[in-house]
C-alpha cells in the first residue's frame, strides 16, 4: 500500500509543478554529451537539472543503485533512462515536455508484500537475508543465488526440494545433492524453500550480488496444515514436471486404510492414471502398463515385489520412508530399466541431534522406528521394523474349511540406515532393507517370498558446481514353495540376485544443470530348483539352467532455465543388455510355430559367451511453458526400455510368477509416451486444476499361450508370445489445497489395449485383434478429503468409482465325457460390474507443541463403509442341473472397521 501512495505523491507533486513550471527546451530534446559516463545516475540527473530548465521526479532509494557506466553520447535522456531501467520495474514518463517522472510499477512490490503478509499470518519461519550492497549495484542486473537445502535433523541433503521465488512466480528444485541455483534480478524478493513433511522456510531476500545460502529445513513436528500454504499451489504450476507426483508420508498415514495399515502403494493406486486389478492384486498399473513395468527403488536398488500378503498390504513401512517421488511421465534420464513409471523411495536417515523414535500398533501388524546420533552431527543410525503378530488372528476366526485351522499368514520388513558425514562435502550412507512373507496351509504348501536390498552410497561435493554420488549395492528377490506331503512333497525355489553400481554427477553451469553418469547391473537368475522334500517323495530333482546377463546404461541430462517463461529438461540414456552363457538354446524349424515338436537343434554357449545383446536409445524431454504466473503448460516425451519381463498367466500378479530376462528369443520391451498437461492455480491459491493427457505405445510385451506352464519350463519361448500395447487417457484433477477442508477430485478416462498377432492363430490372441488388457478401466473417479474438525481431529475420506475390469465369460456350454465344458468369449471381451467404495477415518492427533516427550495419534477407520460387495471377479459354475450360474467373488464384501495407534517420541 505504501508504494501506491508514493506513486500518488509523485503524481501530485508533478501536478503542482505543472502549474508553476517554466517553458524552455523539452526534456525529450536533451541529448547526452558523454560526460555522464562513470557517474551515479542521481548525480547525472542533478547536473542536467542545473543545465536545462527541466525537473526530474523520483525517490532517491529507487535510483541510488544505478550508475551510468559508459557514455551515452547522442542519446536522449529518456533513452538513457529506459536503457538503465531495462529489466526493472522502473520507467521514465515525460509530462508536459519539461518534467520527467520516474515511476515504479507497484504490482511486483505489492505482490511481494502480500506474500510476506500471508507468510507472517501463517507463522512461517521468515529469515531476512541480504546479499551484496545495494549501493554497488549497477543498473537492473541479475544475480545468481545458489545454495544447498539440508535436513536440520540429520544434515541429509534434500533432493527435489522446491525453491520458489514467489514474487516472480519463478522456481526450481534441488538436484540429487540438494543444490539449487536460480537467476533473479537484483532487489527484494520473497523466496520460499519447501519440502514435503518439512516446515516451509521463507527468506525475505535482498539480492545485490551473486550469493550462496545454506537452507536448513526442520521436519514438521506435528500438524500445521490449517495454515494457508499459499505457494504450494504455485509450486505445482511452476516447478514440477508433467506426470510427477511427490507424496507426503503424513497424508498417507492420515488416509483411511484397510485394517489400519498406512499403505504407500495403496495411495499410489488412487492417483490419476494408476489402476489395479483388485484388492488382492500385487502392485499397480500405470497408464496402461503392466505391474512389472514400474521401477520401484528403495534407496536406489530396484525391488521386485512391492507387496505383502498377495497384495493386501505394501512391503514398505511408511514410518521408515522419508520421501517418495513418483513419475508416470517425464521420467528423467537417470532412471531406466522399466517402461511405465518410477517410484523412488528414499528411506529416513537418523536424527543428528538426539535419539527419538516412532511407531504404530495396528490390527495386523506393529512397527517401530528408532533413530539418532552415534556421534553427534556426524554419524547417525536409523532402524525400523514391522511385523505381523502370530497367527492368532487367522486362528481365532471361525473357519469354513476344517483343514485350515492351523494356517499361517506372516510377514515382516525391516530397514537399517547408517550415515556418516566425513566432512561438509563428503558423506557415506549404508542402507539395508528386507521384506519377507510366509503363507501356509497346514500339511500343505507353504509360500515364502523375500526381497533384500543393500547399498552403500558416497556423496561428494567437489566444488560449488560439481557434485557426485556413487552407489554400490546388491539386491535379491527369491521365493520358495514347500510341500511336506510324504508321497509328493517338494521344495521349489527361485531367485534373482542383482549386484549394481551407479555413478551420478551433477554439474551446474550458468543456466544449465547437467546430470550424467552410468549404471550397471549384473543379473543372476535361478529360474527354478525343484527337489523332493523327503526321500519317499516321487518328485524329480530338477535344476533349471541359470541365466546371466548385464544391463548397462550411460545417461546424460540437462535442465535448462530458458528465462522466466520456459524450462526445458532433456536427456538421453543409452542402455544395453547382454545375455551371457553358459546356456543352451533350442532352435526351431523356421516358419513353424515354436513347440517341443519343432525343436531342431540346441546351441551351446560357454561361460561368459555373448548370447545376444540389445541396445536401446532412450530420449527424454520435458518442457514447461508458463503462460502466466498461475498457469503453465507442460509437455514431455519419453522412450524407455525394459529388459526384464514378468511372465504371469494370471490377471492378478502372484509372488511366484517368474521374471524372464531378454535373450535369444525375448526382445526387450520399449515404450514411447507423449504427455501434455495444463496446470492452473486459481489466484486465491486455494484451488488447483490440472489436465494431463498421454498416448503411449509399447512394443514386445510378453504374453502367454493358453495352458502354458511357466514354472520349470526350459523352453519358455514355445509358450510365450510377444505383442504390442497401446494406452491413452486424459486425467482431470481439481484440488483444494488449503483451508479447513482440503481434498481432491479426479476423473480419468483411459484405455489400455493389447495386440498379440502372430503368424498363426495359435500364436495370436483373439485372432490378432486388439483387446483390452486385464486392467483396462476406462472411467475412474476418485474423491479424497480431509476436514479439520479441530486442530487435532480430522475427518478424512476416500471414495472411488471405476469401470469393472475386463473378463472372459462363457457364451455356451458343451458336454464332453460327462464334463461340462464352457466355451468362452474372446479374451477380455466382457466386463465385471463397476466398482465403488467409500472409506472413512477419524484421526485424533496429539497436541501440537514442538517440544514434548510423547505424541500419539489414534486412527479409527472403516473400509468399505456401505459394505458393497464389489466384484473381484465374475465366474460361472455349473448348478445342480448343470446350467452355468454366474457368481461373483468379492474380496471385502462388508464394512471393515479398524483402529490403530501411532506414536512419536
Amino acid at each position: 500500500m505504501r508504494l501506491h501512495s508514493q506513486f500518488k505523491i509523485a503524481v501530485i507533486i508533478f501536478l503542482l509543478f505543472l502549474c508553476s513550471g517554466a517553458y524552455a527546451q523539452s526534456v525529450e530534446d536533451i541529448r547526452m554529451d558523454g560526460t555522464e559516463a562513470g557517474k551515479p545516475l542521481i548525480q547525472v540527473l542533478t547536473e542536467l537539472e542545473q543545465k536545462y530548465p527541466v525537473r526530474f521526479f523520483y525517490l532517491e532509494e529507487w535510483l541510488s543503485p544505478f550508475q551510468v557506466e559508459q557514455s551515452h553520447k547522442g542519446l536522449t535522456v529518456v533513452e538513457l533512462l529506459r536503457d538503465l531501467f531495462k529489466g526493472t520495474e522502473l520507467d521514465a514518463v515525460v509530462m508536459d515536455s519539461h518534467y520527467l517522472v520516474i515511476v515504479k510499477d507497484p504490482r511486483t512490490d505489492m505482490n511481494r508484500k502480500a506474500l510476506m503478509n500471508v507468510a507472517v499470518r501463517a507463522q512461517k519461519s521468515i529469515e531476512k537475508v541480504q546479499v551484496g550492497d545495494p549501493k554497488k549495484v549497477t543498473k537492473g542486473a541479475t544475480f545468481i543465488l545458489r545454495g544447498k537445502i539440508t535436513d536440520g535433523g540429520s544434515g541429509q541433503a534434500l533432493v527435489n526440494a522446491s525453491v520458489s521465488v514467489s514474487d516472480l512466480q519463478q522456481g526450481t528444485t534441488t538436484d540429487g545433492t540438494g543444490q539449487f541455483e536460480v537467476k533473479i534480478p537484483a532487489g527484494n524478493h520473497v523466496v520460499s524453500f519447501s519440502y514435503l513433511n518439512y516446515e516451509e522456510k521463507i527468506v525475505d531476500l535482498a539480492l545485490y550480488a551473486d550469493g550462496e545460502v545454506k537452507v536448513i529445513l526442520e521436519e514438521q513436528p506435528t500438524i500445521l496444515d490449517e495454515v494457508v500454504v499459499s505457494d504450494v499451489a504455485a509450486n505445482r504450476a511452476t516447478t514440477s514436471r508433467v506426470g510427477q507426483t511427490q507424496m507426503s508420508i503424513r497424508e498417507i498415514k492420515r488416509a483411511p486404510s484397510l485394517l489400519g495399515e498406512a499403505d504407500l502403494i495403496k495411495q499410489i493406486q488412487v492417483l490419476p492414471g494408476v489402476t489395479t486389478a483388485g484388492e488382492a492384486a500385487s502392485g499397480f498399473n500405470v497408464r496402461g502398463g503392466g505391474v512389472d513395468q514400474n521401477l520401484v527403488l528403495y534407496d536406489g536398488i530396484p525391488i521386485f515385489n512391492s507387496s505383502h500378503a498377495f497384495g493386501f498390504f505394501s512391503a514398505f513401512n511408511a514410518q521408515a520412508i522419508r520421501d517418495v517421488s513418483f513419475y508416470k511421465g517425464g521420467v528423467p534420464a537417470e532412471y531406466g530399466g522399466r517402461i511405465s513409471s518410477v517410484l523412488d523411495i528414499r528411506s529416513r536417515e537418523g536424527d543428528g541431534q538426539k535419539w527419538n523414535g516412532s511407531g504404530g500398533i495396528g490390527l495386523i501388524s506393529s512397527n517401530l522406528l528408532l533413530n539418532g546420533p552415534i556421534v553427534k552431527d556426524k554419524t547417525t543410525l536409523s532402524i525400523s521394523a514391522r511385523s505381523t503378530y502370530s497367527d492368532w488372528l487367522i486362528n481365532t476366526i471361525k473357519t469354513n474349511y476344517a483343514d485350515l485351522q492351523n494356517s499361517t499368514v506372516l510377514f515382516y520388513d525391516g530397514a537399517v540406515k547408517l550415515a556418516h558425514q566425513f566432512s561438509a562435502d563428503t558423506k557415506l550412507t549404508a542402507s539395508y532393507y528386507t521384506s519377507r512373507d510366509e503363507f501356509r496351509l497346514q500339511g500343505d504348501t507353504t509360500y515364502r517370498w523375500r526381497n533384500q536390498a543393500g547399498s552403500i552410497r558416497l556423496d561428494h561435493q567437489f566444488d560449488e558446481n560439481l557434485s557426485a554420488n556413487l552407489t554400490l549395492g546388491v539386491g535379491s528377490y527369491s521365493y520358495a514353495l514347500l510341500d511336506q506331503n510324504p508321497g509328493n512333497g517338494f521344495n521349489l525355489s527361485y531367485r534373482i540376485t542383482y549386484p549394481m553400481m551407479k555413478a551420478e554427477f551433477h554439474l551446474q553451469r550458468g543456466k544449465h544443470r547437467f546430470t550424467f553418469g552410468d549404471q550397471l547391473y549384473y543379473y543372476d537368475f535361478n529360474p527354478g530348483t525343484l527337489t523332493p522334500s523327503s526321500p519317499a517323495s516321487n518328485i524329480a530333482n530338477i535344476q533349471m539352467e541359470k541365466q546371466y546377463s548385464f544391463e548397462n546404461a550411460v545417461f546424460a541430462g540437462d535442465a535448462i532455465n530458458l528465462g522466466e517463461k520456459y524450462f526445458l529438461e532433456g536427456g538421453i540414456r543409452f542402455s544395453s543388455f547382454s545375455a551371457r552363457g553358459p546356456a543352451s538354446v533350442y532352435t526351431y524349424e523356421p516358419g513353424q510355430p515354436k513347440s517341443v515338436n519343432t525343436i531342431t537343434d540346441t546351441l551351446h554357449y560357454a561361460a561368459g559367451q555373448n548370447i545376444k545383446t540389445y541396445f536401446g536409445i532412450e530420449p527424454r524431454l520435458a518442457l514447461r511453458y508458463s503462460i502466466n504466473s498461475n498457469t503453465s503448460l507442460k509437455a514431455s516425451y519419453q522412450r524407455t526400455y525394459q529388459y526384464l519381463h514378468l511372465v504371469t498367466n494370471t490377471a492378478a500378479v502372484m509372488p511366484i510368477d517368474i521374471w524372464q530376462p531378454s535373450g535369444y528369443y525375448f526382445k526387450p520391451q520399449h515404450a514411447d509416451q507423449l504427455s501434455l498437461g495444463w496446470y492452473h492455480t486459481a489466484s486465491s491459491t486455494i484451488y488447483e486444476f490440472s489436465i494431463e493427457g498421454y498416448y503411449k505405445l509399447i512394443q514386445n510385451l510378453l504374453d502367454f499361450k493358453d495352458g502354458a506352464r511357466l514354472i520349470l519350463n526350459s523352453h519358455l519361448e514355445t509358450d510365450l508370445l510377444q505383442g504390442k500395447g497401446r494406452a491413452y487417457g486424459v486425467e482431470l484433477s481439481a484440488n483444494k489445497v488449503s483451508g479447513r477442508l482440503t481434498g481432491s477430485v479426479n476423473y480419468t478416462y483411459s484405455r489400455s489395449l493389447r495386440t498379440i498377432s502372430g503368424p498363426t492363430s495359435q500364436e495370436s490372441v483373439n485372432e490378432g485383434a486388439e483387446y483390452p488388457s486385464n486392467f483396462d478401466q476406462p472411467n475412474i473417479v476418485n474423491l479424497t478429503w480431509k476436514y479439520g474438525i479441530s486442530r487435532r481431529i480430522f475427518f478424512t475420506g476416500f471414495f472411488t468409482y471405476h469401470t469393472g475390469r475386463p473378463v472372459t465369460i462363457p457364451l455356451s456350454v458343451s458336454i464332453v465325457d460327462n464334463t461340462v465344458v464352457a466355451n468362452f468369449s474372446d479374451r477380455n471381451a466382457y466386463r465385471i460390474p463397476d466398482y465403488n467404495r467409500l472409506d472413512l477415518a477419524l484421526v485424533f492427533e496429539g497436541n501440537h507443541k514442538r517440544k514434548k516427550f510423547w505424541d500419539g495419534t489414534w486412527t479409527i477407520s472403516v473400509y468399505n463403509v456401505y459394505g458393497r460387495k464389489n466384484p473381484y471377479t465374475v465366474f460361472f459354475r455349473p448348478s445342480d442341473q448343470g446350467a452355468l450360474q454366474p457368481y461373483q467373488l468379492s474380496i471385502i464384501g462388508a464394512p471393515l472397521p479398524s483402529i490403530s495407534y501411532s506414536f512419536k517420541f
Binding site: I809, S812, D817, V821, S890
Partner: protein, 359 residues
C-alpha cells in the same frame, strides 16, 4: 496348488461368493463332438450334440442325428458307426490298440468334419486307491452346514520309457430309495378347504406290483484331474487327490461305489483336459488365470473357420474300484429324505437299471 489359497484369504478378509445376474449374450450353436477310442473292449461311443446356452438345463441336449460317423486307423481299419440312439453312435467290431493312430470323420449337413490323428499311448497302472474321511463345514447363505466328505487318492504309475500325460477321473455311484407310493395330491373338498389325498405314482405299484421308480442308482462325475510326469521321477504319481465323495443322507443310504479311471492321453488331449481343469479351478482363484477358449482337435474341411467343440480322444485306460461303506464313517448318517416322486427326478444321471458292479 493355487486354488487352495483362496479359502485362507476368505478368513483373513470377509471374502464372499454370491450368485449374480449377468446378461450373457446369445451365441451361435456349434457342433460338439464327444468321442473316445480306448484299448478296452468296445463298443466305443461318439456323441454328437450342439452347444447349449449357459443357462440351459443339460437334460435339454440337442442331439445331432443322421450323421455318418467313421473311425479310421493308420492300420487301414475303418468302421462306420451305428446310431444306437439319437446322437449316439457306436462301433460294433473295432478294437482299439496302443500305438495306432486313430481319426474320426463325420459327415453331417453336407459338411465333413475330421479330427487330427491321435496316437493311442501305452497305459500305466493304478497301484492303490484309497479314501480318507475329512470333517468339513461350509457356509451357505450365512449358515454353517456340515459338508463332511471322503477325499479319494490314488498312487499310480505311467508307462515306462515314455512321457506320460495322464488323466484321472473319479466316478461315484450310490443307490437311493424314494417312496413314490406316498405321493399326495391336493384337492378341494366340498367345504372349500384343500385336502391332500394319496396319489401313488403309476410306476410305484400299487402293491403287490413292483415299484419300478423307487430304487435308483446315481452316478457323480468328478472333474478330471490331469498331470504329466515332467516334474516327477520315475513316472511314479503318489497321493494324487482325484475327487471327493460327499457324505449325505442320500450318498450313504446304502453304500458308495468309487471307480478311478486313469487315461493315458496324447499331448493334445492332455492340453484339452488341462484347460478344462483350469476352468473349474481358476474361476474362483484370487489370481484369476485367464479362462481360455479350448480348442478342439476337429475341424470342418470345407470351412476351416467354423468353430467346433469337443474332442476325439485315443486313450489307453486302466481302472480300479472299491466300495465305501457306512462302516468307514465315524457316525451314522441321518435316514434318507423321502422323495415322493420318481427316483429318476433326483439327479440327471439317475437310472433304475442296476449297474453290473452293484451286488
Amino acid at each position: 496348488m493355487k486354488r487352495k489359497i483362496i479359502p485362507i484369504l476368505y478368513l483373513l478378509i470377509t471374502a464372499c461368493v454370491d450368485p449374480i445376474k449377468y446378461a450373457v449374450p446369445a451365441s451361435d450353436t456349434q457342433l460338439v463332438v464327444d468321442g473316445v477310442i480306448t484299448d478296452e473292449a468296445g463298443p466305443y461311443t461318439v456323441r454328437l450334440t450342439r452347444t447349449l446356452p449357459v443357462d440351459a438345463y443339460l437334460q435339454n441336449q440337442v442331439e445331432v442325428t443322421g450323421a455318418m460317423v467313421t473311425i479310421r486307423s493308420n492300420a487301414g481299419e475303418a468302421e462306420l458307426l451305428k446310431e444306437v440312439s439319437p446322437g449316439v453312435y457306436q462301433t460294433a467290431t473295432l478294437q482299439g490298440k496302443v500305438g495306432r493312430i486313430y481319426s474320426l470323420e463325420i459327415l453331417v449337413d453336407k459338411k465333413t468334419y475330421r479330427s487330427d490323428g491321435e496316437e493311442m499311448p501305452p497305459p500305466g497302472a493304478i497301484d492303490n486307491l484309497r479314501f480318507e474321511f475329512t470333517p468339513y463345514t461350509k457356509i451357505e447363505g450365512g449358515v454353517q452346514k456340515n459338508a463332511d466328505r471322503f477325499n479319494v487318492f490314488l498312487d499310480s504309475k505311467g508307462a515306462p520309457g515314455v512321457s506320460n500325460y495322464l488323466r484321472w477321473r473319479l466316478t461315484g455311484t450310490y443307490k437311493i430309495e424314494t417312496f413314490p407310493q406316498l405321493h399326495m395330491i391336493g384337492s378341494i373338498s366340498p367345504t372349500g378347504t384343500t385336502v391332500f389325498v394319496p396319489d401313488p405314482l403309476p410306476c410305484s405299484g400299487p402293491p403287490p406290483a413292483e415299484c419300478i421308480c423307487c430304487k435308483c442308482w446315481i452316478t457323480d462325475y468328478n472333474a478330471p484331474t490331469v498331470s504329466d510326469d515332467q516334474l516327477i521321477s520315475g513316472s511314479r504319481f503318489a497321493d494324487v487327490m482325484i475327487g471327493i465323495v460327499p457324505v449325505t443322507r442320500r450318498t450313504f443310504y446304502d453304500k458308495y461305489y468309487i471307480e478311478a479311471e486313469q487315461m493315458s492321453l496324447t499331448p493334445a488331449a492332455f492340453t484339452y483336459w488341462k484347460l478344462v481343469r483350469a476352468q473349474t479351478d481358476g474361476a474362483t482363484s484370487l489370481f484369476q488365470p485367464p479362462l481360455a477358449n479350448i480348442k478342439s482337435n476337429l475341424h470342418c474341411i470345407s470351412n476351416p473357420e467354423e468353430l467346433l467343440r469337443g474332442f476325439f480322444m485315443a486313450a489307453s485306460v486302466t481302472r480300479k474300484s472299491t466300495f465305501i461303506t457306512k462302516d468307514d464313517l465315524p457316525y451314522r448318517p441321518a435316514f434318507i429324505d423321502t422323495l415322493t416322486s420318481s427316483c429318476l427326478t433326483a439327479a440327471r444321471t439317475a437310472t433304475t437299471i442296476k449297474p453290473s458292479f452293484w451286488p
